[in-house]
Symmetry: C2
Subunit: 651 residues, 2 copies
């Protein structure tokens, strides 16, 4: 059983962990030789391998396991797409500038820091009402508008960091990186491009092709793993707030009124750590104790629908599989003030880190918003249809046009007029125009910034009864969205361990003591699950004697043929120190070749967490590792089937 996760311990470990991650090149600041760039990080060999294993498990768990369609769209995105999605106008943070120093700050962060300091300093002296009020500011500051920011700064007399200078008015700063596509010099909306702030839009604009690919059937899920970019004002906390990040997103398209899930019954009895809106607003600091069935259908219904609940359960399982401690996971429901106006319900999977609870995955019911926006902007229908059991009869508005007259009257504009008149019927819009045409025989039509004088002999609008055998509708979208970098950060924090050198498995190792790589008295290591371990196996000769070389090469080649990543360490460091090095980068298994190996062709196989070893023939060891890595057997099976080995003190 895993220990409970505790923020204080995580904080105490942070420095040693960061030190290990940088020293062993899991992650390091990008362009460090040039002083680095805030918010950009590179993954070194073990970090890159871990990321790749994590993505590959995500693919297996979601894409393969749930029969999703995966696509790969571009990062470069033209203006029109992000204008339609709302990002050009609303993907902003409010900033305030110190008018004297010209330094700019995120308004919500300035407020949060000030309020947190207040709470910390005044502490128990605050009345419980005052304290609650301050805590509510903390919760809501992220969604404040400009006026609320100004009021708040005034009410709490928040000073500029450099002293008592004036703050500017709050102003929005768009977080998208802008560039120009194509060789034309002038910047016009046709050649403005942005780096996508999320991968989702690349899925929405491809909806039609994807729906066709799926045989025009709903529901279906589309997944995408790829980069997102946000020009953060204040990047910080390592991988947690960066400017370029790997995401894995799912857009589940579904009938907006039928959000049941065929596999709901498999997860309905699960109890997830749900931290509901109600609990947050009432300052109740524990999770709801509901089953998912009760959460969706019970008296205190808190999750909007089965499909959303199903994805929460899948995410919970995924996070545990890749090494997040379940006691450090909660699903926090968004407050209504946090959600976009169109969203129906949102739950963030949050993980407890040394920085507090951090969002690692969002689960949003985005309703039909995105498809409607893109359909309106692109003038292309983005709809699905479903056959009725019985055909229905409906009154449909139709336009009958006199195309000849329209052509004669409007000449080269006639096709725009025609499509405007047809659109009016289709959208059942411009009621007043239609009334006037009928009543007065003519009327001015204002449409899409154009104006025309239209007469009743050009167009006639009538309701007609139509037999309709299928329903057309805009699908709803449920979006689980994962931040790969954030999950990796949490995996590091939750799997950072240490043991005293005295607890070592044998004297050889307890001699270590003065290990430069570690504190004198303790050895740090990463207890990564096999599934995400960057390298699965090490190969260590007991000494650098050349007689081991043949066996090293044979084992190495066999492991690679089985597709198992491995690392040979033939350096002259003691075997104990070399074990410590492999533990540091989380290698779960180690093959040691010793002098007995050269006599009887056996080797030892060591497991990282227990530090136990078994003796096993060098032919068999490959397939045992293969089965361990592919979860066909576990370490216990190995210890029960092969003799435990206690290391001899030769070298």
């Amino acid at each position: 059983m895993k220990n409970n996760i505790c923020q204080k311990t995580l904080q105490e470990n942070r420095e040693s962990l960061e030190n290990l991650l940088k020293r062993r090149f899991f992650v390091a600041p990008s362009f460090e030789i040039y002083g680095g760039v805030a918010g950009l990080y590179d993954y070194g060999p073990p970090g890159c391998a871990l990321k790749s294993e994590l993505e590959s498990h995500w693919r297996k768990h979601f894409v393969l396991g749930e029969d999703m369609l995966e696509i790969s769209a571009t990062c470069l995105t033209p203006h029109n797409t992000l204008k339609a999605s709302g990002h050009v106008d609303r993907f902003t943070d409010l900033m305030i500038t110190d008018m004297k120093t010209n330094e700019c700050y995120r308004a919500d962060k300035v407020i949060e820091e000030h309020i947190s300091k207040l709470i910390k300093e005044k502490g128990d002296k605050l009345s419980s009402d005052d304290k609650s009020k301050l805590e509510m500011v903390l919760i809501k500051a992220g969604s404040y508008g400009a006026e609320e920011v100004k009021d708040c700064i005034k009410e709490y007399n928040i000073k500029t960091p450099s002293g008592d200078n004036n703050w500017s008015e709050p102003y929005p700063f768009n977080l998208m990186f802008k560039t120009k596509i194509g060789p034309k010099d002038k910047e016009v909306s046709e050649n403005i491009g942005y780096l996508r702030p999320e991968t989702a839009q690349g899925i929405f604009v491809n909806f039609k092709r994807l729906f066709d690919y799926n045989g025009k059937k709903l529901p279906f899920s589309v997944a995408q793993i790829g980069l997102g970019f946000r020009n953060e004002i204040a990047p910080r906390n390592g991988l947690l707030r960066v400017r370029e990040f790997q995401m894995a997103e799912i857009e589940h398209f579904i009938h907006p009124d039928k959000k049941n899930h065929p596999k709901f019954s498999l997860i309905k009895d699960m109890k997830l750590p749900l931290y509901s809106r109600e609990h947050q607003l009432n300052n109740i600091n524990h999770n709801s104790e509901l089953t998912l069935e009760d959460a969706v259908y019970g008296k205190r219904k808190i999750i909007d629908n089965e499909t959303l609940a199903y994805f929460l359960a899948k995410t919970y399982q995924f996070l545990i599989n890749v090494g997040i401690n379940p006691t450090g996971i909660r699903f926090r429901q968004h407050l209504s003030t946090e959600m976009a106006h169109y969203a129906k319900d949102c739950w963030d999977a949050e993980v407890l880190t040394s920085y507090g609870w951090i969002e690692c995955a969002g689960h949003a019911d985005r309703s039909c918003y995105d498809l409607i926006q893109h359909a309106n902007s692109s003038k292309i229908d983005l709809v699905a249809s479903e056959k009725y059991d019985e055909p229905v009869y409906k009154q449909i508005l139709e336009a009958t046009l006199n195309k000849q007259l329209i052509g004669k009257t409007f000449k080269q504009e006639s096709s725009i007029v025609t499509s405007a008149l047809l659109d009016i019927a289709k959208n059942n819009s411009h009621q007043e125009f239609r009334d006037n045409i009928e009543k007065y025989g003519n009327c001015k039509l204002i449409y899409d910034n154009h104006e025309w004088e239209v007469t009743s002999d050009m167009v006639k609008y009538e309701y007609k009864t139509k037999k309709i055998s299928e329903e057309q509708f805009v699908p709803g979208v449920i979006e689980p969205s994962f931040g790969i970098g954030r999950i990796i950060h949490c995996i590091f924090e939750h799997n950072f361990k240490y043991r005293d050198t005295e607890s070592d498995e044998n004297q050889e190792q307890s001699k270590l003591g003065n290990n430069k790589d570690n504190n004198e008295m303790q050895r740090n290591y990463l207890s990564l699950p096999i599934i995400v371990a960057p390298i699965k196996c090490s190969i260590l000769p007991i000494s650098s004697n050349v007689i081991f070389n043949d066996l090293i090469n044979i084992i190495h080649t066999s492991l690679i043929n089985y597709g198992i990543s491995c690392k040979i360490d033939t350096s002259s460091a003691s075997i104990g120190r070399r074990y410590a090095r492999t533990d540091e980068i989380g290698i779960p298994f180690g093959i040691t070749i010793d002098f007995q190996s050269t006599k009887d062709n056996t080797v030892t196989l060591r497991e990282r967490d227990s530090m136990k070893q078994v003796r096993i023939s060098s032919n068999e060891v490959i397939s045992v590792i293969f089965r361990l890595v592919n979860h066909q057997v576990d370490w216990r099976y190995v210890t029960e089937n092969y003799p435990i080995f206690t290391q001899q003190l030769n070298d």
Copy 2:
């Protein structure tokens, strides 16, 4: 044995292939509902899966198979890094503008089009000298400078496309996408960022950490798979010239004077299709018939070193593994005019496509250029060292400084002066300054745009004999670099096949005839190797009868548990049409469930290319497919061990 590849056939197939790729959503223009953006393409579900399989094989073949370190650096790159690498100043195409229409064109493309037209039109009327001259222009136009472009336009009287307007002077256009990092409004070099035009620089700037990670040993290879971006002036030819593309690059760091490769003996007898510089310049239109050993060591030595040759061989094997026809591969050596000034030797792996020979992978010996550039700009040593067998004694220039005097004289500038004076010793530079100091007792020092008056009581330069036990040097770099999208394009072209409906395996299918998805008389399909096939297996019930559902679900779940991607098609189309659909997206194996299945629990297993089927129990079929997909058995083994099935005409 595969047929020879022939450009004419590829050209004839192009339209049908493009049609198939778009219709089945392998690849489609990005943001198509908004009219698309030139040079941007999205991978739909089968294209994305193929890309992911291709990358995963690349990882296995290179990273795992050759023990490389893989990293993942950022796309966003600050100005200083790309200034040092030369991209800010030299990563440009020459453009010319039609002065009347203001349309801009790539100068080399304008020239190439004109010359190609000339050759085509005048054809046989040209003297062989004239023809050779024109062909040389075609080869060299890409590397013309501004003056050569002007001369060429004048000599051949090349007109603007819109008529006889004037051309502008040729001017360089930088192909990098530029953006601003951070919230500051003003554009200064500190906040200018670019999207990386190649992944290589992210490896070079991390050299120090990587060298440490590798235990400070040379040689070693670092790999990276990721996006590159180029603001192409004229994107075209589908995936072949795009603005955002996936790359896979390797930087192999090696002692600049010891470029042997430990595994050269394994490939030395291979004969690759080498198209040498000499053959190109002499218009010899066939490849050299040399073994790699002769190519590196023979009289007509054409490859610079063993390591470069080893990578050519690895690339050749890789391209064949993923489905490129070997008769459509050649390695073309760069002309000296094509290569960067620092490059020692370059070979492009070119693949024959409907557009001609296309570069899919480059292999460049970049010498020590990149590390030297970054070391100079960042002032951080990027060097390796190697112990001598015996220590050597060398004369080393040393500077003895009077720090007190320097401090007193230059005050806050004294640390810059100090490091300048030390650099001079280290680099053995500024000979004249050193001479003058000694001779006259003082001299003006000009260094890094600064000027100081330095006197001989501040610094003394002397050669001293030093015992040196290790050699410090800047490693050389050999870079194999792959364009993933281009390789995918070539895989499509080389594996696009068709068969007459009459050649179908049974009457059921030859009834197809009027298949809307295809020409009336032929069925197109993709004969993709298992290794890159987007989906490995289909599950097809013989009809949409519900009695098949249980078995479908059991087989589906088992395949997923084995990690095998599969696609169920329960639509009401005839089994023949459904086979055709799975063939179109290159699914190599198909399980068919028929009425006999419900009686004896057997199914049929069909292979795409031969259209042969065997009958096999539904339990066994999973492990057979697993072994087929993992190359443990081949189809021939299956046909020899299970009864051939001839489809019954039921349903």
